[in-house]
Amino acid sequence: MKRSFIIILIIITAVVFYALWSTGKLPGQLTESEPLLTLTATDNTSDIEKDLNNLTITEEDDGFTEINSDLNSL
């Protein structure tokens, strides 16, 4: 009884840990930026154009919004 309780506890801990890890929410974990779209297959100008238009430089970071709300607690 006690043994199965410990096993269940370990499984729950592992699931929670994995969920936090996969979403980058573990304390001190550095999350990666969004991946870029795959390059097109040829070097035709129309494909190069698509590659350039697909290339987005993201404007802001959500982290600043979090810090703004943290600032209210200071």
Binding site: N53, D61, F64, I67, L74
Partner: protein, 216 residues
């Protein structure tokens, strides 16, 4: 029979030649990717060094924030400083990815230019634009690496002004990242100019080339 055999050998030979020779842009792309991989390894080392310094800073932050008596506020300040480092890491990581991609796109423009030159076109204008784009990407990469090495340390001399001090530091990080982003944007525009120069020489192949200089 002999004629058929000769044809068969010829077909196999030609097939092998084509099978073993990838398109020139792919060869260029592989070269670019090798260089990118080398740089990534260097960056990984720098990233590990930065992470090590973050852990070291975590220990000395308490000394820096001696003026803060409230334990909750102290923990919050530690958390915010860590978030500054994370944001800087994430944003500069994104910028480096964009620059790597710009190098890959430029390799495509170069290989298409080589084909045009082989077909007797005058590509001097495109070559000049490609050289400018390469320089712009290099300059942007230097700016991004400089930004990535920056450390945003919270210093609080008075608990009552902590909010303003941290707010000012956040604005500084936002402004620094905006300036760095401008470097990347300039590199993107330079690659866009190379494509425009290429389109002027070879026209549009496979569609209407109307690239946007402004990222979405």
């Amino acid at each position: 029979m002999k004629f058929l055999l000769v044809w068969l050998v010829l077909v196999i030979f030609v097939g092998n030649v084509f099978a073993e020779t990838p398109p020139s842009w792919q060869t260029r792309r592989e070269e670019v990717q090798t260089r990118i991989e080398e740089r990534r390894e260097e960056l990984q080392v720098r990233k590990e060094e930065r992470l090590a310094s973050v852990s070291a800073r975590r220990e000395e932050i308490r000394t820096r924030l001696q003026a803060v008596r409230d334990e909750k506020k102290l923990q919050l300040l530690e958390k915010i400083e860590e978030k500054f480092a994370q944001i800087n890491q994430r944003r500069t990581g994104h910028f480096l990815k964009v620059l790597d991609r710009l190098r890959e796109i430029l390799a495509k423009i170069q290989s298409r230019t080589d084909r045009a030159e082989a077909n007797g076109k005058n590509v001097s204008g495109v070559d000049a634009a490609i050289a400018k784009a390469t320089a712009a990407i290099d300059a942007a990469e230097t700016a991004v690496n400089t930004q990535a090495d920056k450390v945003y340390e919270i210093t609080v001399s008075d608990e009552t002004t902590a909010r303003n001090d941290v707010g000012a530091l956040m604005k500084k990080l936002q402004e620094d990242l905006r300036v760095t982003r401008d470097w990347v944007q300039k590199a993107r525009t330079a690659v866009f100019d190379s494509l425009q120069a290429l389109v002027q020489v070879v026209g549009n192949d496979g569609g209407v080339a109307t690239p946007s200089a402004t990222p979405t």
